[in-house]
């Protein structure tokens, strides 16, 4: 599906839900640890796909593993690291993206993989 410009895209090809593949995750806004909410298993699957959570029998429980994964995601995307599904985090999650995982084989050199100072400030260091 190539178009010289966006106005040439036929209406028939425009999705009825223009917000995107993962927009249902927005329904999880405000969820926090200890809750059991429909859709959390799908979010865990998303986070697993991009390297944030190990493969498991995903349930709809907001458990410690999910909270940790959300914190890591927030760190990588320079969001407030609350471990909660706030609006800003979900706005980021639902965006179209590259299919390459952010964390490969458990390691990442995005923000979450970088060393921090005792004050929690990230150090960006390059070998010369």
């Amino acid at each position: 599906r190539f178009f010289p410009n966006s106005s040439s895209i036929p209406r028939s090809l425009i999705p009825t839900n223009p917000d995107g593949k993962w927009d249902a995750f927005k329904n999880l806004t405000g969820c926090h640890a200890g809750e059991n909410v429909d859709g959390l298993a799908n979010l865990k699957n998303y986070l697993h796909y991009f390297g944030y959570i190990d493969k498991n029998n995903f349930t709809d429980e907001f458990d410690d593993n999910l909270k940790s994964a959300i914190k890591t995601y927030q760190l990588n995307y320079n969001l407030n690291t609350t471990g909660e599904l706030d609006g800003q985090t979900l706005e980021q999650i639902v965006r179209p993206r590259c299919g390459v995982a952010d964390i490969v084989n458990g390691t990442s050199s995005m923000n979450s993989g970088k060393k921090t100072t005792s004050s929690g400030i990230h150090i960006h260091a390059v070998n010369h």
Partner: protein
């Protein structure tokens, strides 16, 4: 910037890389030109060259558009969601989701269609993976993982240049200027006020 585990890169002696498009895609020249421009973004800052070849099987870098399950274990998911993926060097594989509404050379920022995705923006990002870069936490970087629809971001940011030059060194002709320009539509849903990414 970041690298894949083990920091894979193209071998030091292999500085002239070839690329080819999946013949079955029958891509028009306008689409091929998008990738030519995307390759130039990277070759401007590192001492590697990229030349198109018609021989898909022997090309160093193989580019194809696929839909759904295309037998690499990473099925595409239709419109939006994941847009493309690529493999670390020296694999040289770059796949794009054939179901996306790819805007080739028009102004995607003027789009009234929220599912329109700028092809060159995604191509520059995925070529970064082909060369060995992982994702960046810098919002302005090409290697930032997400991109909003209606967004065009094709110029390497300083973070991208720093990262790729760690792997390959600097192009002798590179003058050290890297600017990141991002254009967005009113549909840009980036509430944090920054740019975009994949």
């Amino acid at each position: 910037y970041s690298f894949f585990p083990g920091t894979p890169r193209w071998p030091a002696g292999k500085t002239d890389l070839t690329y080819a498009f999946l013949p079955a895609n029958n891509l028009p020249d306008s689409v091929k030109a998008v990738f030519s421009r995307a390759f130039q973004k990277w070759s401007a800052v590192i001492p590697l060259t990229f030349t198109e070849t018609s021989s898909y099987v022997v090309a160093d870098i193989r580019i194809g558009f696929h839909s759904g399950d295309h037998n690499d274990g990473e099925p595409f998911d239709g419109v939006l969601g994941t847009l493309a993926h690529a493999f670390s060097p020296p694999t040289g594989i770059l796949h794009l989701d054939g179901d996306e509404n790819w805007v080739v050379d028009g102004d995607v920022a003027a789009s009234a269609v929220v599912s329109a995705v700028d092809l060159e923006s995604v191509a520059v990002h995925e070529l970064g993976h082909v060369l060995g870069l992982g994702h960046s936490s810098e919002r302005e970087a090409i290697m930032y993982p997400t991109i909003s629809t209606g967004t065009r971001k094709v110029d390497l940011a300083g973070d991208d240049v720093d990262g790729i030059q760690v792997l390959y060194g600097s192009n002798p002709n590179y003058n050290g200027s890297a600017t990141s320009t991002t254009t967005t539509t009113t549909q840009e849903r980036d509430t944090s006020g920054g740019g975009s990414r994949f």
